[in-house]
Symmetry: C2
Subunit: 586 residues, 2 copies
């Protein structure tokens, strides 16, 4: 049986940065070659970053991508790595448009490809067959599907190559892997993190390995890109379903593993399978002990995803620092802790902005948080700024409450304008669901770290982060009072969230049914929830769509995040209901 030393490069690309991403790949290839690899693969679109969205419809971008692949092959040769076959994902084109639609319509002109580089040339290419066009993915919009399977013959073994979604679908190239009798299947991926996705992804990889009687090597990119966080978690699974190697989540990594791959046969190839022979590298004499990382528990995974999502937004966009409002409440405390973990406390600026309704306890909690975490802390009371506005405009009620929130948002945006900080906004998924926030006020900011975290999970994460610190002998970052006191917006005397909203446990359960499970009113009531509360909550959700459309992006951690995952009209009149209005409630 041929022994192949396979290296998988879990790189962290920046969308659009072809030069920088090529450098990352080159650096990882050098390490792979130094480790004696016979074959090296990086993730889907590792050269361009992912998702590139409608950049795929710019011919100049496709030409540049293509040129960079060709150039990367030469760079590898120049670096003395010409012998090492390198598999790299990238967009390619422009090709003849797939669709003959309206003359106005943009049509797909790109393919989602993997190129195999060796000896300074592109030796072979594979184009993704199955284009995900659900959830956050719009690949059918931008890519032309491929229809041929690629098999590489290396050192007497046959290595089939597919891309991401191809693995998930029955039939198509996966079916051909078995027919072609390949010994190793390399799948390059750009698969974003979701809670519990590891409960789906690893079993899938395992099932495919067993079904196709092939070792499956799954390499994923890592890093934050806008609202997605790619978790890496690259893995190699044997034909019997055994994990042979696994890279850690949420960090760049080179995974190297020795594989005994079935000998290639010379039976006839099935239709639509292309086999390309590659020159062999010299074999390593030693045997490598591969990494087999284990996954931490759910809360730690979520925390790590939120931290990486924020860190990469900050770093990839070149912000020196972040600013946020700290109220002493649980949301801002958790966001401050995430921010400090992401970029270091010395790049975090927290501002307490007490009003005449803020309790002393709140300011104490905020100051205690600052002390525990060590971020830059300042206080800007808002009473003298709000009073002239309230007076001149004769404001009362909700309009007056909103002005307090908007003056606060104006303060952190001004600090952002003065110092270049990225402004963070502290809204959690529950309040974003029901619109319990002031647009242009507390919702103001460029990034929303806990946007996809329901309130009940915010508390869980706070507790976990404190326990985690204590287990390491560090100071727990979040004051206990912030976790335990009843949540309040403190916009009027003695206000609590539950004056307006159902208890959070109940609210989150209804939101799970309505938003995530997409159940209708009757189905939710059939689960045992009170009809009036269901009507109240679902109406709030519908009416807050206009605010969500104007909300900051934030890391997706669930199977149904607000944003590209859930595309709903603002103007929407639920059947049998009176006019909902759309923008008055803010």
């Amino acid at each position: 049986m041929p022994r192949l030393r396979l290296a998988l490069g879990q790189t962290n690309p920046v969308v659009g940065d072809l030069d920088g991403n090529a450098k990352q790949i080159l650096a990882a290839a050098k390490r792979a070659a130094a480790a004696g690899a016979d074959l090296f693969a990086v993730g889907e679109m590792a050269l361009s970053g992912y998702p590139i969205e409608d950049l795929a419809s710019r011919p100049s971008f496709l030409v540049a991508s293509h040129d960079h692949v060709v150039h990367l092959a030469k760079q590898l040769l120049d670096a003395g790595l010409g012998d090492l076959p390198v598999i790299v994902g990238h967009p390619d084109g422009p090709y003849e448009p797939r669709l003959l639609g309206t003359s106005n319509a943009p049509t797909a002109i790109a393919q989602n490809r993997a190129s195999v580089l060796q000896h300074g040339h592109v030796k072979a290419q594979y184009a993704k067959h199955h284009l995900p066009n659900y959830s956050v993915f719009d690949e059918y919009r931008i890519f032309i599907p491929g229809d041929e399977l690629l098999v590489l013959r290396i050192k007497g073994a046959d290595v089939a190559l597919i891309i991401c979604e191809d693995l998930w679908r029955d039939g198509g190239p996966v079916a051909k892997v078995l027919e072609a009798d390949a010994g190793l299947l390399v799948v390059i991926n750009a698969s974003p993190f979701e809670r519990d996705k590891d409960d789906v992804r690893l079993p899938l990889v395992t099932r495919r390995a067993v079904e196709t009687d092939t070792i499956v090597a799954y390499v994923n990119i890592v890093g934050g890109q806008d609202d997605l966080v790619f978790d890496g978690d690259s893995v190699v699974v044997s034909q019997t379903g055994e994990i042979l190697a696994r890279a850690p989540q949420f960090e760049e990594h080179l995974l190297v593993v020795d594989l005994d791959v079935a000998e290639a046969s010379d039976s006839e190839l099935p239709e639509k399978v292309l086999r390309v022979e590659l020159a062999s590298t010299s074999s390593a004499a030693d045997v490598i002990e591969p990494d087999i990382a284990s996954l931490p528990d759910d809360r730690e995974q979520v925390w790590n995803a939120l931290v990486l999502g924020l860190r990469d937004y900050v770093e990839k966009n070149g912000f020196p620092s972040v600013v946020l409002g700290v109220s002493g409440g649980i949301d801002s405390s958790v966001v401050a802790a995430i921010a400090a973990d992401a970029v270091g406390a010395d790049r975090v600026y927290g501002i307490a902005m007490p009003s005449k309704y803020s309790s002393d306890g709140s300011v104490d909690d905020a100051s205690e948080l600052a002390k525990r975490i060590g971020f830059h802390y300042s206080v800007q009371p808002i009473a003298d700024l709000v009073a002239p506005i309230e007076e001149q405009l004769k404001l009362t009620g909700v309009a007056a409450e909103n002005v307090q929130a908007r003056v606060r948002g104006m303060i952190w945006m001004a600090e952002s304008n003065l110092h270049g900080h990225l402004a963070l906004t502290n809204g959690n998924k529950t309040e974003i669901s029901v619109g319990y926030s002031t647009i242009y006020g507390d919702a103001a900011g460029g990034f929303a770290p806990i946007k996809d975290v329901p309130k009940t999970l915010v508390w869980e994460l706070a507790r976990w982060r404190n326990e985690h610190a204590e287990a390491l002998g560090e100071t727990a970052p979040i004051p206990v009072a912030s976790i335990e006191k009843p949540p309040s917006a403190e916009l009027r005397p003695d206000q609590t969230d539950q004056d307006t909203l159902p208890p959070y446990e109940l609210l989150d359960a209804i939101l799970e049914a309505y938003v995530t499970q997409k159940l209708g009113r009757a189905d939710i009531i059939a689960l045992g929830f009170d009809a009036d509360i269901v009507d109240f909550v679902t109406r709030l959700v519908d009416r807050a769509e206009w605010k969500r459309r104007q909300g900051a992006i934030g890391p997706k951690i669930s199977g149904m995040a607000f944003g590209r995952d859930r595309r709903l009209p603002i103007t929407y009149r639920p059947n049998n209901e009176p006019l909902p209005g759309a923008q008055t409630r803010s």
Copy 2:
């Protein structure tokens, strides 16, 4: 030759409002029957509104849609219209999911269908084959394609039925129309307005009529739905390419026309064609003179689209009124005039908010605008509100300028909160392209009426609207000074837009190349533009993406509007460029 009296109902549905939309269809069907129609058709998704987006993935919504179609058939029967065949577009499902993707992935469970109702029953159905998944459309995401053509035999004539995109694609059901030898092709549509789309749509309808040797009847919905405006413009074209009937743009209409349709033959049907025989209605004795509306010129079409887009957003969401800031500048003047045309001047509230940098001329122009249009006008000076903030936060430069804009936004949002007004924001496409606005300041609002109108077109529209008024003997709404003075944000002494930006003619030309034509840097320079200016402008566009993501929706009038039309990453590092930053500039 059988003579068919065809009625096309250009209705204005509200997304989700199955009851209300069914009532519209029923009312139009009554008028069609009263006019002696043999066949009546309304637009694509006329029962549910369009686009329904991910409502198509809620099983309860699909069941409700299906039930409403069945119920509509009975309502037609009960209203004594049982004999009239009625073609109605609607979503249907849930069906077995099309995709076997990840277990987490939402999969299409709906079809985009047309039902033929007669005698209280659904007699036949057609499912759309070609699912547009470009520009603003995401139909491949949400619908399962059909694969059969439907032919209705009515009064000895064969009437083929297809849906919207099916007409645009060669092959598929259009090719079968010729094979099936149908005499009339009914196409139901939900086709949004774009400038110059009539230059594409009518020639297409004409070409298909000639190609398939079939009369083509094209019925479109009308009305605003979020950022889309459906223009109606339903039309019937003969086999020789003659326009037989045409409905006016931008209004509800019943178009009735007598057609001499080729006699049906009994030749064998091609594969995948279903023929359904319908009972005939009694023939009308008279001959109807059909409407043949003509289109107004480009500027008037655009104006009408903007007016209808705003009106329907207001009315469908139940707002009593609108509020906007009026600065005396061209943008707010045009928005005020659109608003008055949309909902009447007595439902428009304009607020002048002079700062210490505002010229007397500006306030005079705003007040003159109010007088000419007749909207509610008030003045809220901002100096006393801005001063305490500037002082407490020690603001200078851009940070101070932004605070002025944010105080203004806070004022109209407070008025919105107090009175339920929809807040309008006055940004034009040029400034939204380059981010020349203050987020949470002048960009604050629920709807942006001129969001897709470049600055140069804003001026053209202002001039056109004034000329139009004068031609009708009415007061020109927009003061000449607002059109002719140099544009300025008036956030610092003697500021003009051209301190910061290239001249608008030049800027709009570069934006057309970069945003609309999707050209790369080198291609734009090759058109003859200065390289430094191209770099300056394209960088501004890239860096403003985060602001656009948080911007209000507004009516799409171009082939490339910001929003669903143009999906680009925020985090994006153009190749060979230094870090662009993403959120500092605001």
